[in-house]
Every structure is written in structure tokens, then in C-alpha cells.
């Protein structure tokens, strides 16, 4: 009879096969922790400082999301991934949201079954070379050895670009930004290519950044944005509007310093809606009405996040460029919260 009960138990086990859960918002709230997928280390975007604390542009968006959903920007567990492991980490449920310098593309959206939430950095692929080589244009790179991160869109753009120009090159495949740095600085490759923002960030960590230049050619569009698993609209809505709220906050002058004051005394109805004084926009996406207020207080608006991590006054020194608000000549444009 024992035999029979074991068989029944085994069959029952087989029936309750785990299925990828489609209610991430509830899961995150229940566990009290947001698993945010970031890079293994790219100064300015996601890296651990001397005290072991995660910092950076992408990291701040993770914290803003945690502040909006869980009420505390510190309730984030960072999941560091390489260019190759990031999508598997997301679709297997190891992470809840991906903020990892990831280019929005059609095949990733449709075939890899991701849902992109928007764009948090408009980028393009560039080339970095040592000044000593005397190269001034990407068109002079025929025959060069090029360090390239595998599993990225830049890898494909590189092949297309050299092919279109009728030039040859030796690809030197590497996994992480740290490996690229070692190979590039030791001279294993002449050129390092990735998103221009990533090149600037890497260069800032070199001993003598001035000995290296970024070539003028930008060979691709790289709109970098966050993603979640496809088929979980509630979670996608909540996280998408956190990103939009941070961009709108900059447009309407809400900062981490004045957010409380503005909430108490909103200067106009738009600010009142963002900060949850008017309407119940937070509840519409399954959060409470102070969602955006908490996110802004935790990390500041888009402009503050940019300036603190990668802006002109940091070591990385990126200009706003395309990433300026549409009202300032850029293309950063968030749909209205109303």
C-alpha cells in the first residue's frame, strides 16, 4: 500500500509543475524586494563603490522603481549579468526588471518575448582608439583588431559596418567591460567599440584618459531602455510610469529637494497629479498615490540622476545631447501623466 501512496505522491508532484508567474507586481510586493538586473560593472551606469554599495545611472532607476512599488529605494537586490546572460536572467524570473544598457530592438521585443518600457538613454555605437595610433576616422580602421562584447547589438552593427565599408578586421570577443579594459589597455586590440556612453565611462577609469579618443563616427542608433517579461501588463504599466514620472518631474521642475514642498503646495495641476495630490493615478497602476513622490525623493528626477552619475561634472563627463528634454532641444519626451 506504501508503494501506491508513493506513486500518487509522485504523480501529484508532476502535476504541480512550476509555471513562470505572470503576477510580478504581487510577487515583488509580497517578497518586499525588487530583483533588478544590471551590468556586472560599468562605471557611471551600474557599479559597486569602495564600500560595496551599488551606484550609477541604471542603479538609480532600479531604486526609484523600488521606492515607488515598495516604499523604500533600498529594497533592491541587484542581479549582475553579462551581455549574454541578461535576457535569460529576466525570462527565467531571476530578476523582475532589466536596467542594463540594453538596446531596444524589434527582435528582442517580439522574439525574445520582452516588453520594453521606454528609453532612458539615447545612445549610439562609437569607437575608442589610442591617440598614439594617429587614427582620426573609423574609415581608417581597415585590418584593425577590435574588442567587442559578445551577445550585444554592437557586435552585429560592427560586422555590418565593416562589411558595408569593405574593410576587414579581427574581432576579439570579450564578455565583460572589465575584460575589454584589460585587452584594450594591453594592446590585444587596437579599438574598443560599444555604446558611446559606455566608451566614455570606461575611459574615465583609465590611468590617463587623455591618451584615448572617441572617433567621430557613430555607426548606429542605440536606444537603451528597461525591459520586463512579456505578458505581464500590470507590472509593465507600473514600472513604465515610474520611468515616465521621473522624466516628467524634470520637465515640471520637481526635484528631490523640493518634492515635499511641491506636494504640500502644488504650483499647477500637472505637478499635483504627478505627486498624487490630485486624482488616483498611482492606484491605476496598482500602487498608491505617493508612488512618484517617493521615487523622486529617493533618487531625484531624470536630470538629477543624469548629472549625479554621468553628467558633465562627473569623471565620465557626458553631455545631455539627445538626452536633453524635448523642451531643451533633445528628444527626451515622456507621455503625460493624466
Amino acid at each position: 500500500m506504501k508503494l501506491k501512496s508513493i506513486l500518487v505522491a509522485g504523480a501529484a508532484l508532476a502535476m504541480t509543475a512550476t509555471v513562470a508567474n505572470a503576477a510580478t507586481l504581487e510577487d515583488v510586493k509580497a517578497s518586499g524586494e525588487l530583483n533588478c538586473i544590471v551590468t556586472t560593472g560599468l562605471v557611471g551606469f551600474a557599479y559597486t563603490d569602495a564600500n560595496g554599495r551599488w551606484n550609477g545611472f541604471d542603479v538609480d532607476f532600479c531604486r526609484a522603481t523600488a521606492a515607488a512599488v515598495l516604499g523604500d529605494g533600498e529594497k533592491v537586490k541587484f542581479v549582475p549579468t553579462t551581455g549574454k546572460t541578461r535576457f535569460t536572467a529576466l525570462s527565467s524570473g531571476e530578476g523582475d526588471i532589466l536596467y542594463r544598457n540594453t538596446t531596444v530592438t524589434m527582435s528582442r521585443d517580439a522574439d525574445l518575448k520582452l516588453t520594453f518600457l521606454g528609453v532612458n538613454y539615447y545612445d549610439g555605437q562609437g569607437f575608442m582608439v589610442s591617440k598614439a595610433l594617429g587614427v582620426t576616422s573609423a574609415k581608417q580602421l581597415n585590418g584593425a583588431s577590435v574588442c567587442i562584447q559578445t551577445g550585444t547589438t554592437t557586435e552585429l552593427n560592427l560586422a555590418d559596418y565593416f562589411r558595408a565599408q569593405g574593410m576587414s578586421y579581427e574581432p576579439v570577443p570579450i564578455e565583460t567591460n572589465e575584460e575589454a579594459r584589460t585587452n584594450y589597455l594591453s594592446g590585444r586590440c587596437d579599438v574598443y567599440t560599444t555604446d558611446a556612453s559606455g566608451l566614455a565611462a570606461s575611459r574615465a577609469t583609465f590611468e590617463s584618459p587623455k591618451d584615448h579618443i572617441l572617433l567621430p563616427e557613430i555607426i548606429s542608433k542605440e536606444p537603451l531602455g528597461p525591459a520586463v517579461r512579456q505578458g505581464d501588463d500590470a507590472w509593465a504599466d507600473a514600472t513604465r510610469w515610474v520611468l515616465n514620472a521621473l522624466i516628467e518631474a524634470e520637465e515640471f521642475g520637481i526635484t528631490s529637494a523640493n518634492a515635499d514642498e511641491m506636494a504640500a503646495n502644488p504650483p499647477n495641476p500637472t505637478v499635483a497629479r504627478i505627486l498624487g495630490v490630485e486624482g488616483n493615478y498611482g492606484e491605476m497602476v496598482g500602487l498608491d498615490n505617493q508612488w512618484a513622490l517617493r521615487a523622486i525623493k529617493a533618487v531625484g528626477n531624470y536630470g538629477e540622476i543624469f548629472d549625479r552619475n554621468i553628467g558633465p561634472n562627473t569623471e565620465i563627463g557626458l553631455e545631455r545631447g539627445l538626452n536633453a528634454l524635448w523642451t531643451n532641444g533633445g528628444i527626451l519626451y515622456a507621455p503625460p501623466i493624466r
Partner: protein
Amino acid sequence: MSVASDTDSTPQRGGIMRLWYDSEARQVIIQIFTIAVLFALVFYLVRNAVINLDAIGKSLGFDFLFQPANYDINQSFLEYDSRSSNLKAAIVGLLNTFLVAGLGIFIATIVGFVMGVLRLSKNFLMNRLVYCYVEAMRNVPVLLWILLVHGFIVVNMPGPRQALGLGESFFFSNRGINMPSPLPEPLFWATAITFILGVIGAIVFKRYAKKIQDETGKILPVLYVSFGLIVVLPVIVYFITGAPLNWETPAMQGFNFQGGYVVKPELIALTLALALYTSAFIAETVRSGILAVNYGQTEAAGALGLRNNRTLQLVVIPQAMRVIVPPLTSQYLNLTKNSSLAIAIGYMDITATLGGITLNQTGREMECMILVMAIYLCISLAVSSFMNWYNNRIKLIER
């Protein structure tokens, strides 16, 4: 086990439970049950995968293999560019795996046998030095050796512009070793054919010599004749036809050396690290094999008047091989499988192409992993069936 007495002494129980007290029936029941559990487990895993893939809206399919790969590979034995299919990228990767595994096994075997014999040397210094080599190599993870050798080449060797030259033909730099490549002229076929004929001739002569030795005991100079047929004869033909072979030497041009062959640092690092690491294990296998041959065998050979080298060659090694070959097979398999660590330094083997970039760019994790695993399984089974055939050939023939 006596079956009959068991059934006699069992207490009377009704129906099916009687079977349980029959030891033969019990064994059958346990085996059926084990198989059932195994199948249930496999079924559970497959079903789980199918349900999960379905839940995220993915389906299994291998169409991606025939679509353009869109990425470049830096070492390829076939005509390959970024427009070639993912299948071709996988084949290029597979050939790179074969190359590194083949070279690694070749070097590891030679170094391992030499070290294993030296380990038994009566010379104290030699013995200790080899002991240190073996312990150092086999007690550090192979991944660290790979990274160390690669780091050494990439960081410590000069760049291509300051490459260390050996004459005007060989250049050593952190981009690898550049060497001349042969450019045969039409008449070169004469030399090639002479060489092939020489090899065939040597084989025929060796058989003939063995036959003569079996019949008359007379020993013919096989080594000298073979050398003459395989090396001297083709060289003579080569010069008679007017040395019809040119060499293309590498020359610095732009960023890199152009022309000739290049052995990339990734290949050097991976091959050396895998070969030396595995050679330490092979050395120990060889040592144990030689020690397993009873010393009485050597003494008996001495009593028959065989000299030391003939004793080793005709008495000790053939018997030692019987002990050496089975563990040697697993070392070869280990080396082949360890070659997948190539990914750590960016050597484009099958794991890096099909199991790496293709997987990532197409998002077909399940399909790519199944294929890569199946390929490694096939390679390993092929290696081990060859070694089993060899083992059968050399094993003790019992009458």
C-alpha cells in the same frame, strides 16, 4: 540465493503481497519501479520545460540555424563571413574545438609520457623537479592556468609594431605568432606524391621486415629505411624539380601583420594550459602503469640477455599500456570537455559560437544548449570508442 526455500517459509498472505516475499519477483518489482520513477522524472522535466516555454510564448524550432549569423569569427578554417548561417558558424566553432582538442591531446600525451618516465628516474634532482611540475599543474584549476597563460601573452608580449622577430619570417607579439605560409608551385605535386609513396613503402617494408624476423630471426634496419623513404627521397625529388615551393612571409601593414599564418594568443593559451594541465594527470597514469609491471619481468628480460632499452620497449611498456589506456581515455575526454573553457578568453569554439553568440542573438537557449550538449556527447563517445578499440588491441590475449 535459493528461491524455493523462501517461498516455503513465508507466512500466508493474500494476493499480490505474496510476490513481495519471492526474492526473484521482488527484484523484478524493484527494477520496474526504478524504471517507472526514472521515466516519471524525465517526463516531469520535459513537461515542465514545455509548459514554461509555452507560458512565455516561445516554441521549439531549429529554423534559426539556417538564418544569417550576422557576427564575425576571428579564426575559421572555412570560408565564413557575417552573412553565413548560424549552422555554418556552429561548424566553424566545432572545427575550432577539434583543433584545440586535437593539439591538446597530442601535446599532453607526449609531455605526459616523458614526465611519467622521468618521474621514475633514479636521478634525485630530475625526480623532484618532475614531482613539483606534476603537483603544481594538477592542483590548480585549469581555468586559472588558461587565464594565466593568456594574461601573460596579452600583457607581457610586445604589441605587433614591436614584435619580436625571428629572422624575417617569424614574429611573436601579443596578437600571437605570425609565420610564413607555403605557396606551392605546380611542380610541387611531384614531391607530395613521392612523400605519400614513401609512407606506403615504409609500411610495406615494416611488414616485410617483421615477416623476415619471424621466419629467420634476422633484424632488418626498419628505422633507417623508413627515414630514407619518407624524408630523404621527397627532399631529393623536391630539389630535382627545382624547389617548387615559395613562402609568403608576414609583413607589418597598418594595424596588424598581413600574409602568412597567424596562431592567435587565445589558441596558444588554451592549448598550452589544457595540454600541460592534462599532461600532469597522464604522467601519473604512466608512472602507475610502469610500476604495475612486476620487477621480476625486467629481471627475466635481463636474464634472457635483453639490453635496457629493449627491455623497456618489448617487455615493460606493452604490459604497462594495459594499465595506462583506460585512465588515459578519461584524461582525453576531460581535455576535450575542458576545452569549452575557451569562452573565458574568447576562443571561438562550439560553446562560444552556437552555445554563446548564436544562443544570445537568437534567444534560442533550449535548442542551442541541447545541440551543444549532443555535440559534446558525440565527440566524447567517438573518442572513447576509439580508445576502447585500441585497448582491445593491446590487451592481454588469453588462451
